[in-house]
């Protein structure tokens, strides 16, 4: 009997570690995001606040001249867009917008190891080391994909660079993840620079700046629900 108990010690230890994991897992993360885009010498700025929960729920709030706009969505793509001033809500369940399309949600759900490429139908085909970097190459499972391969480079397990290649081997888009911040054991890149090469000479730049990252804070916004008396409007505009 004693030997049996001793023999179970490793098993118990593993069980304890697994059971302890949720204690260290973040459940709610929020941040303010400034989205900058530049094209043809012109640039625009948009700001929003993003609230992500580990159950896959995401709420985005934009302060506009017309009041606050709420976008609620989840992993299944059930989306509601609510205009606070007009008290109108548009709903869609076709998966137009998934919560996992938000970088904050990818990191919260710990999917940064492939940056969600698996969900896009890509599989890991090669892993190499270049100096201090680890480079992972993902290729599409289907031949008719738009990109021939995707490379993600990690520095100390943190994704710092992502490149999408066309079928001629040229880079279409490069994404740089930088200025990582550690907030309550939640590591996140606060600056994401995306460069898309429209052709050999031209490019488009998109810059996402994350500020005020809050982890596991009791912000009532996480539990926001569209008021039941909101006027429902279909996405095609018919009331």
């Amino acid at each position: 009997m004693f030997r049996k108990v001793i023999g179970m010690r490793p098993f118990c230890l593993i069980l304890f570690l697994i059971a302890s994991l949720p204690l260290y897992a973040q459940r709610r993360v929020s941040a303010d995001v400034t989205v900058k885009m530049i094209g043809n010498g012109n640039a625009t700025n948009m700001t929003k606040s993003v609230y992500c929960s580990s159950d896959g729920r995401m709420i985005s709030v934009s302060n506009t001249k017309d009041g606050r706009i709420f976008v609620l969505t989840n992993i299944q793509g059930e989306t509601s867009i609510y205009n606070e001033n007009r008290k109108e809500v548009a709903m869609d369940n076709r998966g137009l917008m998934l919560s996992t399309d938000e970088l904050l949600q990818i990191f919260l759900l710990r999917r940064a190891t492939d940056m969600g490429m698996g969900a896009y139908g890509y599989q890991l085909t090669k892993t190499t080391r270049e100096e201090q970097y680890i480079k992972k190459v993902f290729e599409p499972k289907k031949q008719n994909s738009n990109c021939s391969r995707v490379e993600i480079v990690f520095d100390e397990f943190k994704p710092i660079y992502c490149a999408y290649f066309d079928h001629k081997g040229k880079i279409i888009t490069k994404v740089y993840y930088s200025q990582y911040a550690l907030q309550d054991r939640f590591m996140f890149p606060t600056r994401v620079t995306e460069i898309t090469y429209a052709n050999a000479k031209d490019s488009i730049v998109k810059l996402d700046l994350y500020t005020n990252i809050q982890v596991d804070q009791d912000d009532p916004m996480f539990d926001f629900q569209v008021p039941v008396d909101a006027k429902v409007i279909k996405m095609n505009g018919k009331k």
Partner: protein
Amino acid sequence: MKKLILAFVVIMACSFSMNAANYTINDESIDNLFAEATMVEAPAAAASAATAAAVSESNNKTIVALVLDTVGLGYFGVHRMILGSTNLMWLWYTLTGGGIFGIVPLIDWVMLLIDVVNNQNSYIGNTNFIMWT
């Protein structure tokens, strides 16, 4: 206009290193890029922002589409729905990973920006997946 559009956003790619071995970027050069660019105020239609997706008959669908594309809904073709494309256009954008991994909506955004600046509505009712070809 087409040629102008094709010549858009010469972001001085040379300012970024094209060396594949370089996995970092000079943040200062990017900041300078935005500092030197002409800031375009988010259109007044931004007031309705994402809720604009629910607007059936807008007097300025192009502005609304531009705003939607800016806030990220362009990845799912919502801006094309506003412009009056085919019913399944959103599906094409979604299936191609957000319009060929976001490239199409990015270029759409520039096209719409130019359209707004020139007070045109060139892309309303366009049913092509790539509306600017």
